[in-house]
Symmetry: C2
Subunit: 154 residues, 2 copies
């Protein structure tokens, strides 16, 4: 027996659908316009830039960006064509590959970051009260606890 959504839940669900899609699309389009890359690629560069020596194993990078391995492989291949990332063999595991952020990649990221952060602020944080920001985090964490319980927190 299906537990259908009542009127209120329906509206909440649709509001969430539209809002998160609108936010996503907006940021993605801004990033594409200003930095020439989709948000998924931007995230890869961000994670690499934070890693020691700016390099990460492919599988760790996949997890950090909540991406499938296949998606990441394709993405890194393309980032490599741009000269923003390069690959190295992993010294401790001959199966492994390390993705390394190049200097050029770092520069592209640095240039893109300003505009993107401004976008996140303008389109999200500036629209919410401080209480709502806290609430959003708690809600997101509740969802994550259920959907992806064992994840690294940061």
């Amino acid at each position: 027996m299906t537990r259908w959504l009542n009127e209120d839940e329906q509206r909440t669900w649709r509001a969430f659908l539209h809002a998160s899609r609108a936010l996503w699309d907006t940021l993605d389009r801004e990033l594409q316009r200003d930095a020439g890359m989709p948000h998924a690629y931007y995230e890869i560069l961000v994670r690499l830039s934070e890693a020691p020596e700016r390099k990460l194993r492919m599988s760790d990078l996949a997890e950090a960006t909540s991406s499938s391995r296949s998606r990441l492989s394709h993405a890194v291949a393309r980032l490599e064509e741009h000269g923003w990332v390069s690959r190295e063999d992993c010294p401790t595991d001959r199966r492994g590959q390390l993705a390394v952020l190049t200097d050029q990649g770092f520069q592209v990221l640095a240039d893109a970051a300003h505009g993107h952060v401004e976008g996140v602020r303008t389109h999200l944080f500036d629209q919410l009260t401080p209480e709502q920001v806290v609430q959003l985090r708690q809600i997101s964490e509740a969802m994550l606890d259920h959907l992806d319980p064992g994840r690294a927190l940061y």
Copy 2:
């Protein structure tokens, strides 16, 4: 001068990113597995099923599903191949096209709906307190007011 995110905002933003992507991916995969279509297509069928005579102008359908016209054209073409939707000329505007939900499309939707609603409940509503559900709606509406001010509410 860029207004960077502080530690707390950073964590909130990343939690939101991961959570909404995880939710999205999960529902999308479930729908693909159980109904053989991505969520975007499911949404098209839903909107058509709610419209008078189960038909809508392409442009209205695009707006309702927050889709570009191009995307919708491609999507409807594919839904038409499946026999779930058909097209009619618009009687009042010779440029217009109506997308119409077929009986078969309605049946496919009806079959898919049970599982999908259950998914939305399991992965979202069941994880939140009643207060959080209210909060999520208010947050989503605040985002929408900013990103898509003139939209239809339902």
